[in-house]
């Protein structure tokens, strides 16, 4: 179910609903502790289901899969919002007031991650433009001349530089030489320069530090808190954990400033959703340790594919002598087709994905402002 379904139900009508609704915790509304327990249980179950589904289907860390992860987040978020709303009289008392305000502090940290990811997406778009050049230069429907090969080669070199992990960029700048005879003004259209345009976050911002901040003090709720809050402490903990996990995945998958994945993420087995979430977590950690992905700028599957096909293409071009043999021609055609495949998936998926990230941003903001307004 797309997350946008919820906008109708919980958008405007939600706010006006709030003003007139009798607090469902009062006896007059006829709500019993039993139904609250059911409500909270249902939430735990829903989270577990979502993550079990993510474990089972889709290609881990592909754009589509991460999109699905975001959808799951949005669903859980809406459910959480409803729970908070239904028991809002409790929110203003201890310990919930403290727990909720802590949760919202965390969610604000997530906003910065969403913004930083936007830069990462923008970088990928630049790579796409370069891929586009390669694809159109080596389009096999037309005769490929030497000039086209050179054009493709240049784009591939730019692409390779652009995909370097940011720590390696400075090295690359020093070591490469491309026989430029022009003055220093004409900087190579290297992605290092593009990266320096970090628009969305301050220069000192660090994705790894932000993740660590999101993870800090994320402890399973204490027994007395659970009791004192009629169990509401548990969904708060759940949502905070889900939030951390989602942000962690985004940072893992996309290029971003000071990208580091060292985070203590552990959920004890007592929670229904612990197993599927931890399983995903472990799989992703394993992926990050693989030799071929260790120094990549992002674990997104499509990034790996672009890297691979562009590297192969680069090597192929280097091996071509003119006039091109038929063998080489066929090989070029094949490699181009591979590149097109990766390219298409991203081309169609990247814009909607960015919108989804923006949606996550907006939902978190809305949740926070509702909370602020209710405090007035």
């Amino acid at each position: 179910m797309p997350a946008t379904d919820f906008q109708g139900t919980f958008g405007r009508s939600f706010l006006s609903f709030r003003r007139d609704q009798v607090d469902s915790n009062t006896p007059a509304a006829g709500s019993s502790s039993h139904s609250m327990e059911a409500e909270l249980d249902s939430f735990q179950r829903q989270v577990a289901e979502k993550f079990t589904d993510l474990n089972a289907s889709g290609e881990l860390l592909s754009l589509e899969w991460i999109g699905k992860l975001l959808d799951s987040f949005l669903c859980c978020q809406e459910e959480f919002r409803a729970i908070v709303f239904n028991h809002r009289s409790q929110i203003s008392t201890s310990p919930m007031n403290r727990l909720i305000s802590e949760y919202f502090e965390r969610s604000i940290k997530a906003l910065d991650v969403c913004n930083a990811i936007r830069d990462g997406i923008e970088q990928i778009r630049q790579w796409q433009k370069l891929s586009d050049i390669v694809i159109s230069a080596l389009d096999s429907r037309r005769t490929v001349g030497e000039g086209q090969l050179r054009r493709a080669k240049k784009a591939l070199v730019d692409l390779a530089i652009g995909m370097l992990d940011e720590k390696e960029t400075s090295l690359a700048h020093r070591n490469r030489s491309f026989g430029r005879v022009k003055d220093s003004h004409s900087h190579h259209r290297s992605m290092g320069h593009f990266r320096s345009l970090s628009w969305s976050v301050s220069r000192s911002w660090s994705a790894s530090k932000q993740l660590q901040a999101l993870a800090s003090n994320l402890n399973t709720p204490r027994q007395n808190d659970v009791v004192a809050s009629n169990g509401l402490a548990v969904p708060v903990y759940t949502m905070a954990s889900v939030l951390l996990f989602v942000m962690w995945v985004l940072v893992a998958a996309f290029p971003c400033q000071d990208r580091g994945l060292q985070v203590n993420f552990f959920v004890p087995r007592q929670f229904q959703w612990a197993a599927p979430v931890m399983s995903l977590h472990d799989k992703i950690v394993e992926e990050s340790k693989r030799r071929d992905r260790k120094n990549c700028c992002g674990l997104l599957k499509e990034i790996g594919r672009i890297e691979k096909s562009s590297r192969v293409m680069n090597e192929l071009i280097d091996s071509i002598h003119f006039p091109m043999s038929e063998e080489k021609e066929i090989e070029v055609k094949q490699r181009v087709e591979e590149l097109v495949e990766v390219h298409e998936a991203l081309k169609n998926g990247l814009d909607p994905f960015e919108r989804k990230v923006r949606e996550v941003f907006h939902r978190i903001v809305r949740s926070r402002t509702e909370n602020l307004d209710s405090l007035c």
């Binding site: 906003l111 030497e146 000039g147 050179r150 022009k182 301050s202 903001v365």
Partner: protein, 627 residues
Amino acid sequence: MEKPENHAMESETLDHHKSDDHSDESEQQLATETPKSDSSSQLSLTQEMEAVDDFIQSLSSSTDPLKEIPPSVEPFPETVDSLVSKMESSGLGRDEAEDSAFILAVNRISKSVLTLRELRLDSTPVSSWLNRASSVQNRAASLLDEEFRHLLNRSREKNKNNKNADVSSDSTHVESDRCVLQEEETFPDFPPESISTLKKIAGAMISAGYEAECCMSYEMSRRHAFKEELSEVGFEGINVEDVQRIPWESLEGEIASWISIVRRCSTVLFPGELSLCTAVFSSDDHAATRKRLFTGLVSAVTIRFLDFSGAVVLTKRSSEKLFKFLDMYETLRDLVPAVEQSDSDLIEEIKLAQTRLGEAAVTIFGELENSIKTDQGRTAVPSGAVHPLTRYTMNYLKYACEYKDTLDQVFQTEPEQETRRNQREDDEEYKVSAFGRQMIKVMEHLDANLEVKSRLYRDPALRSIFLMNNGRYILQKIKGSTEIRDLMGQAWTRKRSTELRQYHKSYQRETWGKVLQCMNQEGIQVNGKVSKPVLKERFKVFNAMFDEIHKTQSTWIVSDEQMQSELRVSIAALVIPAYRSFFGRYKQHIDSGRHSDKYVKYQPEDIETYIDDLFDGNPPSMARKRT
């Protein structure tokens, strides 16, 4: 053929290749002649280009597979190649005629390459010509790309230097003058020659099929330019989290600079960017490219502004923030026209950010209502003066009215329940703007609160004075501002004036009713004769009352000077004629007796004097002693 690596090496290879295949003397002459005699090579160049045109024509019309390249066309790649070398060292933008000739040549080689590439080539001479031509085309495109970027960036550098320029430097002298004049008006500051060159280059690159490279270079350079603009005014990336932590006083400063840079974008930077885009990618064919480039640039910049406003909206609500939020709302509203030429997604985002600010403003304004409702001090304001709550509220509302139109917009988007809205539409009183309704609500709360506060006074006369003071203050504030007055409407203002008059009457009745009764002629005459004891009693009572009133009510305050004088005048008009007539008629009956002073304490003139002491707010010890 060697690997395509180094350009310098590459042209050598071409030459070798050429000398191997073509021992035609004229070709060699062309190769050596080109750098020397411009006029003859220009002629050959024109002839060559004509030949190429014919060649391309024939390709499009003929169905037979091409077997060989016509000799007039054969040397064209090398001709262009030397042109490229020449332009490489001299650069574009120096000689317009040269540039145009170059571009024409590049366009032709591009066209021939593009056309040939569409064909299936079996013939080796044709393939090899295509290879040479495409290499040269690629080389030319790379040169154009570099020149493009160079031009774009050079102007930026110049601007940067000029901002700190010392005028003594010759080459920058003209620019710096222009810069100073135009700094506020034009952005980006490209001289028209540069723009014309940029336009040529863009056109050539796009025709050559190198649109992607052209756009990437353009975007890169413009983004850097914007980044510099923003850094210059101190607008760096600021995290949502940090915004939450900054104290309001500092945040206000950030907001002020945000407002200034967004305004600058609306009025100067974005329109300037659109002009540049339109000038460089001017052909009708480029419309989609223009839109895409413009959208990309303004989106990237605007989204950062929206990040900031979004972060600000997340901070805790407090009444002092209202006006800054409204300022930001207005600034975003004014930004929309400047980005109209871009994608609708961006405009939606801006509107969403506006809505957030609007919602926050509504909440904060609602806070005002709440704070009035909950202001329940148990201590009455001494002397019945204007209550601080009245002052605060009225000043807040007056300030708010300066944003009346914006607040109207903001409140109009607030969802109202259907029933309430229908009710309002029927009610004449509510044919008032959305914000007007809010104002009335606030006033109603204030009135109710003042009503409660007035009951803290045990003395009903003081109660009336209190209500008069506050009512008057409110009325004056409203009359003093055309915005509020128009907002509240005539009927409302008239109603308040009527209320004031009623309070005045109450006061008079409470305080002076009994005093006037003293001077009533009824009951003074007993059996047709003036009763001295009754008269004495009357005078005594009058004096006591008057003394008491004077003592007490001199300490009361009526802040509004006009109202103070009106009160005094009305009291005087009430009391003095009555006393004068009473005094005049009955004084003689007491005069003859002893201790007449004891009874006839006041002369009519004295009454006037003492009345003037009333409502001065003076402590009792300062009450004037009778001389």
